[in-house]
Structures are given as structure tokens and as C-alpha cells.
Symmetry: C2
Subunit: 434 residues, 2 copies
């Protein structure tokens, strides 16, 4: 049974504030062992990779090779049901089309003084994409991570995926092919992150590493950060559904459970203005749980982190939603559009009764890699910009330097940086050598 | 004497690769003491802040107060020489105008299926800006960090600056006023970062913390990351100058020294195609060092990390520059413009003989907070986007859900996420409860 909070009850603010800071993850401290693995891969390269892969994944590269071959990818595609292939294609086309709109434009201009200024965007040369093995090996995540890189123009996209017991999800390989990823290695864990960051004889290093992983992968990404870029470390997923009484309680319950089945640390929150509707949703959750394959995970998540928040009206829901800063926000309201401009903090907003969050997980076109754990207050979902970087450009002629130089000299001297002052002054014959 | 590398010498590649990975910073491990300070401020709030400030900065809040008053800022402005105030104003106007062009546009549209999609940008609600005390208390950095926040529309910008012995650089307060920052506290170190991240009775928490600081500040930012956002942790500054023989060696030497005077870990690199020119620049560096106030720092930096790289022609300089991925890249070449499109990795490019990097530090208009330590391979300088976040919006009606739903169901089932499948299926009367 999820927690119940009533806005009109004394003590609500304290209870809500405590709810907001509830930790939903026990972070294992695996830093020492990860440090060792990374150092080992840096020193011994492919040999270390082979040893760790034999040990952790039960795989022998002398039999399988490290790289996944084009023939293997072809065979994998044959093995994926055509319905799933078709669905992946629908998703890929929509994701690519949406992300193409995110491509930034260069801005090169001359200001009224004649100073040339510019912002020039370039793709990152090479990125690594980590794909987990086992049950969390999701083809949809391959599309969501790789397609923005493709749209950005990244020339080299390297995928790593552990093949526990030799097996890679064929749909993952099919998704990789659709996203234009052809360089794939059957490695995982901290050793794969180390190989991507520092390179080995087989694997050239990349400049940035993306994608989700377990505690070892997350710790490894943190440790190699600086040598390479990394994406945000994602926490357990969450949804906030703001729903009025005119919804079918079963639809809303299904949405709460879709989030809860991800992980015992996932979080599903309902905000509504009607106690009877809230009770009906809660009852529907219990009823639907009975037939759910992942009922154990979903019921633990709902019990430990689920919440039903009763509000007197939806105006007070807005500041609550902004404080929750949910990864996914569903507005199942008669006039959902009216609330959008008031929402400041949310990873993604799903508008109206016919937009379950799950559409965004797969085929909506927007990205499903979104900020978790209230980080939508300060960060954004994955996009094309995450695969690019901006170089600023400045160009002065002798005239512009004469106009602007004295101000630069004054500021440099006021900051005690005389060599700064002189590098301008010497060009203006103002006593560069003091 | 800086290191000399000659592209045509056997062993160049090994020497260059080793040069690239040279560490220029000893990172002190202050994590344990920083952890203690943060925990203490979280628990005891203002009381802990007052104690640490008395201990580290010799300041008594019962005398000075924690907040800097508007009267103090007025008085500080009076104390700044008018030439410096005028130069700050020139800088502020130019920085604001350039950054205004970085403001992102929302993109809300309906695709051919009738699916509503959108990217909506909002400013971060509140940001904290750390400004170091002492000699590194730079008004230019206040402008560079605060003005993009102002342009982004951040409603609350909080500045913290330690007042060692009671003193805050008046130009820093003047710059804060120009950038619209009025909430300023005389605190610093890890305790200031903790107060910004978790809040105290006096200071409401922020959502993101920006700005440079010492090892304690950097460690504290890393530790509070997740609770709040942070900017990149900057390393020592660096410049790469690509110069032909037609430059005045004294101008180029002055540019190399402007970078070197920052820090003993700073790095200045010259790439040229003419050995005699290289020797002339080296001689000019030695000569100019004699009269430089910060000669000790600059000569240590030049000796330990400076480099002169001789190339047979400037075509081979391009891949070297892209591997160096310098924070600052000067192109002091006859046809500098021709090289720009070939440069993939650089924080900022300064084009031509009349654009010393120092102009970009102060009055060019572009930001001087740029990626260091080769991170221009995967990241960008500070900009307006760093103070905003993007929320994606998805809107389907019943028709669109009927069209797209089956693909989502197929993918969810193939990923073993039945509750995901049902949250769509239930809306399509396709057996939501299995």
C-alpha cells in the first residue's frame, strides 16, 4: 500500500518534504574493485579484457572473438520476430525525425564594432554506448542512445554489451543495425568502460561514454569522467500522474504499475482532487497486480515508494509537481494544456488521457533517457546536444583591438594579471614589456 | 625552458602522446574533511556556517552579518576606480549581447500523424555562484558566470564569496551589481557549497552551483552533485598558439606568458613551421619574463608544461591541435580562416594576429569559462543552456494512440515489461488486465 498524503491535513508540508528526500537506492560502494579493474585494463589491455570476460560472463574470446561480426548481426535480425522488427522500425523513424529538429545551428556574425563572434557546433568524434546484458538489455535504449548520436553526426559509435553465457539479445543487435552502429564488442562491466575510456589494441578509445548500467558500470563511469565525458548516472525511474475524477481508474492504475514494474526503487505518484477516485485507483492497482508477471517488483515499489496525494484543487498541485520534478509527468486532466506553462520542472510531460507514459518509452519520438531523482530541476533528457560541443570564435582586426584593448588592459591590471595586460598592450604599442 | 618537439624527428609520436597525458595538477584528497563539513552544515545550518567562517576566514557574523547589504555594494562601487568600472561595463554589455543569441527556442509541433511533440526550455529556478576570495577573486568571472544566468531568466542568483579578514574585492561586488546579483553571502569553502546545496535558516537552497574554487570547493561540489547540479570542475588553464613566421615573436611570447602567469599548472604551447621563429619566440619569452610581476609562476609553468612544436607545414598541425583539444586556440596565421573548419576540438578559437586570447578573457563577449584538460573533445564552454533545462512534451489523441499503440505493445512485450504493454492495451480495449 502506497503512502497517502492529504494537502489539507496538518503536518502535510513536513510529510511531503520528508517524502521528497526519501532515498530509493542503496548505492553499493564498489569503488575499490572498480579502480583495480580499470587500472588492470589500462595496463594489460585486451588480455585483461579477455580474463575479466571469461570470469564474469563465462565467455572465451579465443572461441567467439571480442567483436560481434556483421554476419552475427544479420543472423540476429533473422531471429527477431517480424512484429518486433517492424515496431523497432516505427520507433527508429520517429526518434530520428524528432531528434533531427534538435540539431543546433551555428551562429557566426559580426557585431556593430566589426568584431567577429561565433558559436560553432561539432559532433564528438567517437562515443561509446554501454548496453546492459541480461533482462535489462533493451533494444529501445539502443535506439534512444544511438540515434541522437547519429543525428549529431558522430562518426564512430561503439557499442559494448556483455554476452552473459555467450548470448546477446538479438533485438539489441537489430536496433544497433537500425541506428547505424556496426562496431560492437561483447564486453561489459567496469572492464568495458575502461576499454572505451583508455583504449586497448583492439578498441580505440572514445571521447564520451553513454548508457545505463549496474553499480559497477556507474562507478566506472564516474572514475573515468574527465578522461572522457559521461552522461548522467540514472537513478530508478519515476512517474507523477496528475489525474481528475473523469479518468478511468484502471487506466491510471496501469500507468502507475508500468513505472513500478521497472525496479523495486521505482516510484509512482498520483495527485488527484477526489478521494473516491484515489481509492478506486488504489483498488485497481491491487487488482491489476494479481495478474502481472513482474508483480513482485511492482508491488514492492508501490508499497515502499508509491504515493497518493489528495489536493483540494489542481492549482496547488502545480507547486507540488515542480518540487517533485518528476522524470515523467502525466497530465490526465480535462484541460491538461492549461497546466503545461506552469510546470517548470519535469523531464517529460505526457498530455491528456490518451498519452500513457509508455508511448514515450518506445514510439513517441522524444527520448526516454530523462533526468531522475528530482534532477529535472537542473538537467534535461538526452538529446542531440549531448553528442556535440560548441566552440566559440572571436576575431578582431587592428581597429577593433584598438577600440576594445584598453578595457581589457584595465581589467587585467585590476585583477593583478600584468602578462594579460601586456599581451594586448604590446599590440597597441602601449608598452608591452612594462 | 619549455619542451621542444619536432614532427620530423623519429619518436615524435611517442613524445607527443606522452606530452598529451602529462598531469598538470596534484589533486589533494580532501574528501574526508569536506564530507564532515558538509554533514555539519546540513545538521547545524547557520551555526556551523558561522563557526567555520570564524575559523577559516577570521570573520564574526555577529559583527558583520552573513549577507552583504545593498549599502555595502553601493560603497564598494564607490571604491572601484572609474576606469575599471567603465571597463566592467563594456565587458558586461558585450557578454550579455553575445549570450542573448544563445537563448534556445521552444519547438512545439504536430507531426503528420497528428502526434503533438515539443521541446520546452525553462530557466533553472535558483543557482549559486561561487566566487573565490583573495587574489583569485576576479570580477570578470562574476560577469562570465552570472550574466548567462540572467540571460537565461534564472530568477534567483545567489553569490557566495569568502571575506578573508573581512575583505571582499570591491570590483567583485560591482560586477555582481552589474549582473543583477543582489543576494550575496560572505561565506566560502566547502561550508558555502553545503549551504547552497542543502540550505540553512538564512540561505534557501539552490538547484545548481557554478563557479571555480580551490580543492575543497571542488571536492564539495562533487559530493553535493546529484542533490544539485554543478558545472564542470575546471583544471589549470591552457593556450595553444599556431603561428607562422610572419608574426612578431614578442606578440606571441606575450600570449604564451599571459596563460602561464595564471598558475604553475597552466600550459602554453606554440606550434610553428619555422625553427628560427620558434627560437625567437623562446628568446622573447625569457626576455619578457624578466619584468613580469608574476614571473615566478609564469616561468615555472613555461618550464614544466610549456611546449614548442615544430611542424613541416600547417596541415599536420590540424590533427595535433585536435588531439590537444586546447581550451584556447590562437590561429596567428596569414589565412587563419581557412583552418577554422578543420578544427574539431577547441574551447574557443581566436582568429588572426589581432585577437590575443586575453580579449576573450574580458571584453570579447564570448564566455571565458571553457573546457580544460582536453575536455573540449566532449564538452563546451559555459553558456545560457547551462542555466536552463529542456522538458519534452508528448500529446496523443485516441486516433494517434490507436495508430502507434500496437508498436509500443510489441516492444514492451519483447522487453518483458508486461505492465508497460497493458497501460497502452487497456486504452485500446486490447485486454489491459491480461
Amino acid at each position: 500500500m502506497a503512502i497517502r498524503l492529504d494537502y489539507l491535513t496538518p503536518g502535510f508540508e513536513e510529510a511531503f518534504a520528508a517524502f521528497l528526500t526519501t532515498k530509493r537506492e542503496v548505492s553499493e560502494d564498489v569503488n575499490a574493485v572498480v579502480r583495480q579493474i580499470i587500472d588492470d585494463v589500462r595496463q594489460r589491455g585486451d588480455v585483461a579484457l579477455a580474463e575479466y570476460t571469461r570470469k564474469f560472463d563465462g565467455l572465451d574470446f579465443s572461441v567467439t572473438g571480442m567483436a560481434v561480426t556483421a554476419d552475427e548481426i544479420d543472423a540476429a535480425i533473422e531471429a527477431v520476430p517480424s512484429e518486433v522488427l517492424g515496431a523497432l522500425k516505427v520507433a527508429a523513424v520517429r526518434i530520428e525525425a524528432h531528434h533531427a529538429r534538435q540539431r543546433p545551428k551555428d551562429d557566426i556574425y559580426e557585431d556593430s564594432m566589426g568584431v567577429g563572434l561565433g558559436s560553432r557546433w561539432t559532433a564528438i568524434d567517437a562515443v561509446g554506448l554501454y548496453v546492459p546484458g541480461g533482462t535489462a538489455s533493451y533494444p529501445s535504449s539502443v535506439l534512444m542512445n544511438a540515434l541522437p548520436a547519429k543525428v549529431a553526426g558522430v562518426e564512430r559509435i561503439v557499442m559494448v554489451v556483455p554476452a552473459n553465457g555467450g548470448v546477446i539479445n538479438p533485438a539489441v543487435l537489430a536496433a544497433a543495425r537500425m541506428a547505424g552502429v556496426e562496431e560492437i564488442y561483447r564486453i561489459g562491466g567496469a572492464q568495458a568502460i575502461a576499454a572505451l575510456a583508455y583504449g586497448t589494441a583492439t578498441i580505440a578509445p572514445v571521447a564520451k561514454i553513454m548508457g545505463p548500467g549496474n553499480a559497477y558500470v556507474a562507478a566506472a563511469k564516474r572514475q573515468v569522467f574527465g578522461t572522457v565525458g559521461i552522461d548522467m548516472i540514472a537513478g530508478p525511474s519515476e512517474v507523477l500522474v496528475i489525474a481528475d475524477r473523469d479518468n478511468d481508474p484502471d487506466w491510471i492504475a496501469a500507468d502507475l504499475l508500468a513505472q513500478a514494474e521497472h525496479d523495486v526503487g521505482a516510484q509512482s505518484i498520483l495527485i488527484t482532487d477526489d478521494a473516491a477516485f484515489a481509492a478506486a485507483v488504489e483498488a485497481a492497482v491491487e487488482r491489476q497486480l494479481r495478474t502481472l508477471p513482474r508483480a513482485e517488483t511492482a508491488s514492492a515499489s508501490w508499497r515502499d515508494f508509491g504515493a497518493v496525494i489528495l489536493v483540494p484543487d489542481f492549482d496547488v498541485a502545480v507547486p507540488l509537481a515542480n518540487r517533485i520534478a518528476a522524470e515523467h509527468l502525466e497530465l490526465a486532466l480535462a484541460d491538461a494544456d492549461a497546466m503545461i506553462p506552469k510546470i517548470r520542472n519535469a523531464g517529460a510531460i505526457f498530455v491528456g488521457r490518451h498519452t500513457p507514459e509508455v508511448i514515450g518509452d518506445y514510439v513517441g519520438g522524444s527520448n526516454h533517457v530523462l533526468p531522475t531523482a528530482r534532477s529535472a530541476r537542473f538537467s534535461s533528457g538526452l538529446g542531440v546536444l549531448d553528442y556535440m560541443k560548441r566552440t566559440s570564435i572571436l576575431r578582431l582586426g587592428a581597429d577593433q583591438l584598438r577600440d576594445l584593448g584598453p578595457a581589457a588592459i584595465a581589467l587585467a591590471r585590476s585583477e593583478g594579471l600584468e602578462a594579460h595586460a601586456r599581451s594586448v598592450a604590446i599590440r597597441l604599442n602601449l608598452g608591452g614589456e612594462g
